[in-house]
């Protein structure tokens, strides 16, 4: 280089026109706190109850309080968890009905009213819109819980539960409702018509609630093995006259029941025994089972000493689910069901015939809880639904809902 330009080059770049607001780059979609807050506010303001709405709400409140007072009067003085469980079930049921219904009309409904696109044209991101709408619908369902709080507090004081247990269950219920809301929102972003998205949202909820139970029942033949009945009976044909008399009249003064001839039924009939431990996860995916699995373990044997109320609905759910999770015992698989001879001996000696059923109940009731599959399903559905909603709300649109316009 011999020729060097001594003059410094004039600064070429003129000042970019300074704008009062920072310029944004790219096409952001992540939710921002202020954006989510704004969209939630807009949605709640729009869905502000009308006078009729408040009247309906008042009636609902009155009905709940009436039911609560009735229960309190009827249920006596002992500890009982039933009223509290009823409230929790009502919160869950109302939440799973109301929130998805609201959410399922909030995207395609807005779009057909022509109020979605103007918001999309602002600085609000797809994430802001999705989360704001989700939270707004969810908060309305949350209001049901707030309504029931006074009764819930009363019911709690006699339930034998601990605070942390109640808060855990309420937290899980709120998560389940949040997931149902997100599913409703996802359908709303996929279906063009509100009718379709509302019914699909409820169908999805129904599939989770009933579908898992039905699947559990219908899948059982696939995991069943056939066992032969090995129940033992008194051999009626081989009885002597004395024994026959004693057997028919239940008079064991002359005859020792242990001497009765016994026969084990063999090759007489076969029946399937399902290995429910292989398919119990179907039950665990059920939201109501999830609630049961999140509630405290209440022993069928020692609840009184433990300072608990008698096992209620949730404890019963846990016991039944544990039974399925443990699966058939050795004896069950051996086809053993009933031993008439042993029962006669026991009864003649004034003992109770013990087939192990009650022990099994107790074992089932204190079997460790398994909420993780249910929680995993809920969280996966929540994240998946939100992902769909955000993808469908991002502009510029690649694809539109079938048969709709941008609005």
């Amino acid at each position: 280089m011999t020729l060097v330009d001594q003059n410094p080059a004039p600064s070429a770049a003129p000042d970019p026109a300074s704008s009062p607001r920072p310029r944004v780059k790219g096409n952001p979609w992540l939710p921002t706190p202020s954006g989510v807050w704004l969209v939630t506010g807009i949605e709640l303001r729009r869905r502000r109850p009308t006078v009729k709405g408040w009247i309906f709400y008042g009636l609902l409140l009155a009905a709940i309080l009436g039911l609560g007072i009735l229960l309190a009067v009827v249920s006596g003085d002992e500890k009982t968890s039933m009223p509290m469980e009823l409230v929790l079930v009502l919160v869950l049921g109302a939440g799973m009905l109301i929130a998805p219904s609201l959410a399922a009309t909030s995207i395609n409904g807005d779009s057909s009213e022509g109020v979605l696109a103007p918001l999309q044209m602002t600085r609000l991101t797809a994430g802001d819109l999705a989360l704001g709408k989700l939270i707004a619908s969810w908060v309305i369902a949350f209001a049901v819980l707030l309504t029931m709080t006074p009764f819930l507090v009363y019911a709690f004081t006699r339930s034998g539960w601990h605070w942390d247990e109640l808060l855990t269950v309420i937290g899980v219920i709120l998560l389940v409702v949040l997931t149902s809301t997100a599913i409703g929102l996802a359908w709303s972003s996929l279906a063009a018509r509100a009718v379709a998205s509302v019914s699909l949202a409820h169908l999805t909820t129904g599939a989770l609630l009933l579908g898992t139970l039905l699947a559990f029942v219908f899948v059982q033949p696939l995991v069943s093995e056939t066992v032969k009945d090995t129940s033992s009976y008194v051999d009626y044909e081989a009885l002597t006259e004395e024994q026959l008399y004693a057997y028919e009249n239940w008079d064991w003064s002359e005859v020792d029941p242990a001497t009765l001839p016994c026969v084990t039924s063999q090759d007489q009939w076969e029946y399937p025994v399902a290995h429910t431990e292989q398919i119990a996860w179907l039950l665990l995916a059920n939201p109501v089972v999830l609630i049961g699995e999140s509630s405290p373990i209440i022993s069928y044997d020692t609840w009184e000493e433990d300072g608990r109320a008698a096992p209620g609905l949730f404890a019963e759910i846990h016991r039944a689910v544990s039974d399925a999770r443990i699966g058939p015992s050795e004896a069950d698989l051996a086809g053993q069901q009933y031993d008439e001879c042993a029962m006669l001996v026991a009864e003649a000696n004034g003992e109770r015939y013990d087939d192990g059923w009650e022990d099994q109940q107790e074992v089932n009731s204190v079997y460790p809880r398994a909420p993780w599959i249910g929680l995993g399903v809920q969280v996966l559905l929540l994240i998946g639904s939100l992902w769909i909603v955000i993808a469908r709300l991002r502009v510029p649109y690649k694809k539109l809902r079938q048969g709709t316009r941008v609005a």
Binding site: P10, A13, P28, R46, G114, M121, P396, V406
Partner: protein
């Protein structure tokens, strides 16, 4: 040595070869247009020719299948946030939050644009006054008539003080006074340096509002061909006389080309000066002219000449 000049942005909005299909329907096949800052451009075409689809693509709401779009220097495909920040879009569909008041609507919209609450309120109040909806500021939007909702929609589009305005059928449902006010407003906005693209069917009104026109038919913008037609239409003057036979004779003898018209004849003049000379010349030949003037709306004439292709 010369420093390379930074490329000067002449167009606030530009689209080149833009196409978009919905399934098997090709809504926009090949659209090219440019809107410069400080001008008003009309987008004109029959129903279903793709005007709204093109506007949605310009607004960054719809992704084009092909072609290039730049709005305020940004590509809506990759930089749609920047595009949206510089655009005010007035949709063809009237939507409003039924149980929110007009002012609330504008404030919430302004906060969506990240304006401070007080700033949004101030701006919303000013815009409501501008579109003559101040008395409805605290009434729910559901009480508004169609034309009033249209005006609220326009105010909403202006909440973020946009550099580019896309107005889709803004005159729909407006009463005559509001239309004239809209015309003045749009001219004022352009005078402020904003680029305005407006689609409308009320062609006579556009004539006085726009600097430029883009015609669309069957998803295609008619570029030079339509521009030539508009330029030609602007030169057309209609002459009505008491004695058309005499007029035709004079024109033939003078070697002036003319078209026959139901109410006289149409001649072409280059500009107003030429128009004056033409009139003076006719008078000097004793033609009894009782009416002399532009042969109607240039846009309308152009539109009618392509209207035969209506689907």
């Amino acid at each position: 040595m010369t420093a390379t000049e930074p490329e000067v942005m002449t167009a606030a909005v530009s689209a080149r070869g833009v196409a978009r299909a919905f399934g098997s329907v090709q809504a926009v096949a090949d659209a090219t247009l440019e809107v410069r800052p400080g001008t008003v451009t009309a987008l004109i075409g029959p129903n279903g020719c793709g005007k709204t689809t093109l506007m949605l693509m310009l607004a960054g709401l719809l992704r084009p299948d092909a072609g290039e779009i730049r709005v305020a220097g940004a590509d809506p495909r990759h930089d749609s946030a920047a595009v949206r920040a510089s655009i005010g879009w007035m949709p063809d569909q009237l939507g409003s939050w039924d149980n929110l008041t007009c002012l609330q609507t504008l404030i919430l919209m302004g906060r969506g644009y990240r304006l401070h609450k007080d700033e949004a309120r101030e701006r919303g109040t000013g815009l409501l006054a501008m579109v003559h909806l101040s008395e409805f500021a605290d009434r729910p939007t559901r009480v508004l008539s169609r034309g009033q909702k249209q005006r609220l929609s326009l105010a909403r589009a202006l909440m973020n003080d946009p550099q580019v305005l896309l107005l889709d059928e803004p005159a729909n449902g407006l009463d005559p006074r509001s239309r004239i006010e809209l015309r003045t407003l749009v001219r004022d906005l352009a005078a402020d340096g904003k680029a305005v693209l407006v689609s409308s069917h009320v062609l006579a009104e556009l004539d006085e509002m726009v600097d430029d026109a883009v015609f669309m038919s069957k998803g295609r913008t008619l570029g030079d061909e339509a521009a030539a037609k508009v330029a030609d239409a602007k030169r057309r003057y209609r002459v009505s006389t008491l004695d058309d036979v005499a007029l035709r004779t004079v024109l033939k003898n003078g070697g002036v080309p003319f078209d026959d018209d139901p109410s006289g004849v149409v001649i072409r003049v280059g500009n107003e000066e030429e128009a004056f000379q033409a009139l003076a010349w006719l008078m000097s030949h004793g033609v009894k002219v009782h009416r002399f003037g532009p042969a109607g709306s240039a846009l309308e004439q152009t539109y009618m000449s392509m209207e035969e292709e209506r689907r």
